[in-house]
Amino acid sequence: MRFAYDTEYRQGFALLRHPEDWANYGLLAALLLAAPFFASNYILGEMAYVLILCIAAMGLMLLTGFTGQISLGHAAFVAIGAYAHAWLMRQGVPMAASIPLAALIAAAAGLVVGIPAIRVHGLYLAMVTLAFAIIVEQLIGMWRGVTGGFMGLSVPRPEMFGLSLASPTAFYYFCLAVAVVVLLGLLNLLRSGLGRAFVGVRDSEAAAAGLGINVKRVKIGAFGLSAGVTGLAGALMAHHIGYLTPDGFTLLLSLELVLMVVIGGLGSMRGAIMGAVVIGVLPVAISRLKAVLPDVVARQFGLELFVFGAILAFFVLFEPRGLNGRWLKLRALIQSFPLYRRDTFRRQKAYMKSERDK
């Protein structure tokens, strides 16, 4: 059991509240920083890819997990970020300017979709974003002058302030730095007024409006911000892929992003990262597993999709709060051992809400 003995309010909303937090996250940071010294180039490349996925998942988590808006079209923002970045770099814009510009372009696209999209909720919003993603995919294929069409577009080698980021180690460190900056920025935002406004809009628009929140503006803003962060991930993704074609940003990527935030646990940035790690590592793990599996199974078409689907079904059925929820339970078990009770986290209905006015 842990009791709060805060003497100042700022202790209550510190990011690292307890000495163990410092130790744990310090250890994690040390591991991530030391990775290039013991990991192979292949592993480093995969880790950079997972970090990029983390950024994209954080972007979607902001929208789906905190503002309650479902998007099935976030691959479009990844694509817009990636193509914008590649195009800008080919025009001679330095990388340090091109990445933020690409994020801004994706954010602008997010605003354009967001303004009409906030009029609809839930399933309808999902359909609007899905349609948007399909349109973007087609546009990229058609707009040969800028995107290279279906032939693709090669991405210039990453270079910043005269330093080449092309080596796996350098690119890994760069992705790590961007991911950490994005994470800290979003965490700061989420524990401030704007983050609370997001949650307010998610849980009750009526009450949010009554408390002085401009619901429309917050929703559109969340759309833009989410698209911008996802576009930033896209810009990094361009370098990871090296050669952009429209089929790199299909519906499957959108679905993977949704899987990440759902499996991770809606409403937590830690969940977004956990989900991204799992979904990012899974294809590699499956391909490794194929060597061990019996031939009939290993050669089965769509094995990956099947595993994705099975995992999603498993989480929806047994752990709706996602990996983050599982993690919180595990932590409580360790902290309160042997006093932990299984019912600690059981959600009980204290009363049934009447649906009189609905």
Binding site: E8, Y9, L194, V199, G200, D203, A209, G210
Partner: protein, 254 residues
């Protein structure tokens, strides 16, 4: 008599052919506790929804401290100093009590977006000020055992109090309570009566409450308005309204 805090003049609200409110005129004086009673469908909650701009009035005038409410967008109502609770409890279910109350501070300065992004020292101080205000409300309503609890796990009675607390966090001049005692047990209702007294006396907030529980109305209301069929039927002290023949007819049929 001083200038009224809130004045409705000949207000109407029509949904197509349905006249929810027609020709409603009433005033709220600063510093009073006004109870609005009336049978179901009388338009009590619709009146609240009109004033807080959930619905657009079909006609008439609404003024709060001289400001024309019909020109104020819904999300600016709180900035004028109007706060409300809801009949069916509109809390932010997947947030803690503390976050819910902090959301009550949204009408005040939350810092520029870049300050929030970077968590500047100035913003930290601002957050601490908001938190201090919230803590004052937590102490006032005795919510400290629930401070970090999720709303989703709270019993009904506590939710009602949290919602009242959230409205108080906006530091309103005029507080609307929509059936504050519905679903509360007698003990909780007595607590509520004391709180309403204190809200008026210590915090200087004018209270308008829509309520069916006549014991609560009796205990705290200075003045009662009885509505029926979208208009004011009777107005006066509790006894006057209770003995008004039209009111008895409206409730019992006649």
């Amino acid at each position: 008599m001083n200038a009224p805090l809130l004045e409705l003049r000949n207000v109407s609200l029509h949904f197509g052919g349905l006249k929810a409110i027609s020709g409603l005129s009433m005033t709220v004086q600063p510093g009073e506790v006004l109870a609005v009673i009336g049978p179901n469908g009388a338009g009590k909650t619709s009146m609240l929804n009109l004033v807080t701009r959930v619905f657009n009035a079909s006609g008439g005038e609404m003024h709060f401290k001289g400001a024309d409410l019909r020109r104020v967008p819904r999300h600016r109502i709180a900035h004028l100093g109007l706060a409300r609770t809801y009949q069916n409890i509109e809390l932010f279910e997947n947030a803690t009590v503390l976050d819910n109350l902090m959301l009550g501070r949204q009408r005040f300065d939350q810092g520029r977006w870049w300050q929030q992004l970077l968590r500047t020292p100035a913003l930290t101080r601002m957050e601490e000020d908001h938190r201090a205000q919230v803590e004052a409300v937590i102490e006032f309503l005795e919510l400290s055992p629930w401070r970090n609890a999720l709303i989703a796990g709270l019993p009904y009675g506590v939710r009602k109090v949290v919602e009242l607390g959230r409205a108080l966090c906006t530091q309103p001049e005029l507080l609307f309570l929509d059936e504050p005692a519905s679903g509360l047990n007698p003990e909780e209702t007595r607590d509520l009566a004391f709180w309403i007294e204190d809200i008026r006396a210590d915090l200087g907030i004018t209270v308008v409450m829509v309520e069916h529980d006549m014991s609560l109305v009796n205990a705290v209301a200075d003045r009662v308005i009885c509505m029926a069929q979208g208009a004011v039927l009777a107005e006066g002290t509790v006894e006057e309204v209770q003995n008004h023949p039209g009111v008895i007819a409206a409730y019992l049929g006649g």
